[in-house]
Symmetry: C2
DNA sequence: GCAATGCTACTACAAATGTAGAACCCGTCA
DNA sequence: TGACGGGTTCTACATTTGTAGTAGCATTGC
């Protein structure tokens, strides 16, 4: 399951809470995303076709919930990226993240935090 | 600069060594990629339009070399992914990589290696 | 009973992507 | 000198993606 950029927006909104109506999803989209309501419906229909979400009806109003989990979507995306750009392996990807000099300080901080959390987790 | 999946194939081949002709690039593509020669030429032309590669001529034969570096391409790809799928931050992305239980043993190994290399690097 | 609201389904359409065919040009070898 | 091999450019076309318009069907407030 490959999500497009626009689909990520919708799924991100849906993962915030479900079941949800198209209207609710619309309200949750970031301000930078200014789609017509029908655009959102179209995306949801396509996502339902791809079986990333399930659509049910309450009356004639569509209710949506994710089938694809955020975790799986993330996993798939990372796998694709690793395949395309890092010879299919996570090691080099990780290595790149750690070594790349052009990360901002903030980003380096975040990496360190993640590493530390991992260490903590490992000790329990 | 956003590369599509097919474009990654071409760029990966080009990054293996340049300047290179379309024929050389074709020969370097993995067996799984079985494109007509003209397909490769089309991709190269499009990549030149996007200024990801530069095309020069020796006689009437096109010679290609990357303008976009592998490092930058990787950086861009990771940034996009972080934006779409991890609230724009590398920390959560990294955290996910470390914590995700569904990584294979091999993948976990690779992560560990990457971590260890980082430690070594830090000590020098 | 009818108009405004709000939802739905269906259709549309441009741009990007994947993939390639056709036709043309040039050097070379018989 | 003419056919072959290999390169080139241009054109083509289906599919996917981004984005939305339109028209039709309930609900409701007068």
């Amino acid at each position: 399951m490959r999500l497009t950029e626009a689909e990520w927006q919708i799924m991100n909104a849906l993962w915030e809470g479900w079941p949800a109506t198209a209207r609710e999803i619309a309200d949750r989209l970031p301000d930078s995303v200014n789609w017509a309501y029908t655009t959102i419906k179209t995306m949801l229909t396509r996502l339902a076709e791809k079986e990333a979400v399930e659509e049910t009806k309450r009356g004639n109003v569509g209710i949506y919930e994710p089938i694809l989990t955020r975790q799986n979507a993330r996993r798939n995306a990372l796998k694709s990226l690793a395949n395309q750009a890092f010879d299919g392996a996570f090691g080099p990807l990780m290595h790149f993240l750690l070594e790349d000099q052009n990360l901002s300080d903030r980003q380096r901080e975040q990496l360190l935090e993640a590493l530390q959390q991992r260490e903590k987790g490992g000790e329990q």
